[in-house]
């Protein structure tokens, strides 16, 4: 047991190094704080249970997209029997979530996800006014 000091200091160093990101998070008080998502004030239920939407909203959106664009399915019947018009801007955003910035973006940036390209075409109705203003002030040349 002559190397006790060496072994234990090495072990301690190893554990400290491995758990360093955790300590850093605790010190910065970030690791336990979730994304500051603004939930819809007027609605209680989404088109699918919350756990499913958290894990698989992208799959649901792709199903909606394929259905609406390619298979003439313009309405979606939710798990609770409610019928919704299939529309990202006019149903998801306008009816419930309100703002892309305060809902989608906050969680996406929390998990360091590069923004999905939905919004290249689909519009965030809350930010359209801002887009138009910047378009008029910016140069007209491409």
């Amino acid at each position: 047991m002559r190397d006790r000091l060496l072994i234990f200091s090495g072990l301690f160093l190893f554990v400290a190094l491995v758990t360093f990101p955790m300590w850093q998070g605790i010190a910065a008080k970030t690791s336990t704080r979730g994304p500051d998502v603004q939930l819809p004030a007027n609605q209680k239920a989404c088109v699918a249970p919350r756990s499913y939407m958290r894990a698989a909203h992208m799959q649901l959106l792709i199903d909606w997209r394929e259905g609406a664009v390619r298979e003439h399915r313009s309405r979606y019947t939710a798990y609770d029997g409610k019928s919704y018009k299939v529309s990202l801007t006019n149903t998801c955003l306008s009816q419930c979530h309100g703002s892309k910035e305060k809902f989608c973006d906050r969680c996406h940036s929390y998990v360091s996800l590069s923004a999905p390209y939905c919004w290249d075409c689909h519009q965030d109705s809350s930010s359209t006014a801002a887009t138009m203003a910047s378009a008029t002030s910016a140069g007209r040349t491409p």
């Binding site: 664009v69 390619r70 003439h72 306008s94 075409c121 138009m132």
Partner: protein, 262 residues
């Protein structure tokens, strides 16, 4: 009670046979449903969207007024179509072309002189045999069972094969973000993005709601007649019966769904 090996095998074999027979009966009934169910589902389940439908349009050249662009403006509003001044980057859904370009084979020196140089509204012909659909490598454009040649902008990779294939120039490429050129921008509708091809969709979203296409509704002269080409009593078929109509370049065999009454 003790089960002998022989009895066990007999019971197991009998169970497998029973399960298999059940599956077989189900498979047979799926393949050949009772005739009543077939005739019932055809009309109700598809909600009148059977393959008997083919949307088409007739454009009455006599009624179309010179200098009026109500149809074009209505289309821009209905679909967030940008207005790009540079003709090389233009995005066109319904637009005007001179008569000689719309009907290049009918250009003669001794034809109807009043038609020479006049502008005609042109749009995607929603061909029965669309060459653009045939060349699309990603099936981003396809022909629906109601005759509309649709675009799936999600799937378009911007290769522009369809633009080369279309003999009518009905397709436009977005060389840059079109949003700054859309005025006024309707925030309820999507726009297109840089790098996709777009074109007229016969207002399929309005048709789904039972409305006429925006251009047809906007025309003050009722020069655009829209309807189901496969229904012999539809407005468009009645118009086509009464008047002499031509298609754009029918010799190409694309069978356009847009007719011009001359």
């Amino acid at each position: 009670m003790k089960i002998t090996r022989k009895a066990f095998l007999r019971i197991a074999g009998g169970s497998v046979l029973a399960a298999g027979a059940g599956k077989l009966v189900k498979a047979i009934s799926d393949v050949a449903p009772p005739p009543a169910a077939v005739s019932g589902s055809k009309s109700t389940a598809e909600g009148g969207r059977a393959t008997t439908q083919r949307w088409g349009m007739a454009i009455d050249f006599e009624k179309c007024r010179k200098g009026c662009d109500d149809c074009i403006r209505a289309c821009r509003l209905a679909h967030n179509v940008p207005r790009i001044p540079d003709s090389a980057h233009e995005v066109k859904w319904i637009w005007e072309e001179p008569y000689e370009k719309v009907f290049p084979s009918q250009r003669t020196d001794y034809g109807r002189q009043d038609l020479a140089g006049s502008q005609l509204p042109v749009l995607c012909n929603h061909c029965a045999d669309p060459p653009c659909v045939r060349v699309c490598p990603t099936q981003a454009t396809w022909k629906r069972d109601d005759g509309i040649v649709m675009m799936d902008y999600h799937r378009c990779i911007g290769c522009r094969y369809c633009m080369v294939a279309c003999p009518y120039g009905s397709r436009s490429f977005n060389w840059f973000d079109p949003r700054p050129y859309i005025k006024p921008l309707n925030s309820q509708l999507p726009t297109r993005t840089k790098g996709v091809v777009e074109k007229c969709n016969f207002c399929e979203e309005r048709l789904a709601d039972g409305l006429l296409p925006a251009c047809v509704e906007a025309c003050p002269q009722k020069a655009l007649v829209f309807g189901n080409l496969n229904d012999k009593d539809s407005a468009v078929r009645q118009t086509l019966r009464a008047r002499y109509a031509v298609q754009r370049q029918p010799e190409l065999g694309t069978e356009p769904s847009v007719f011009y009454l001359v």
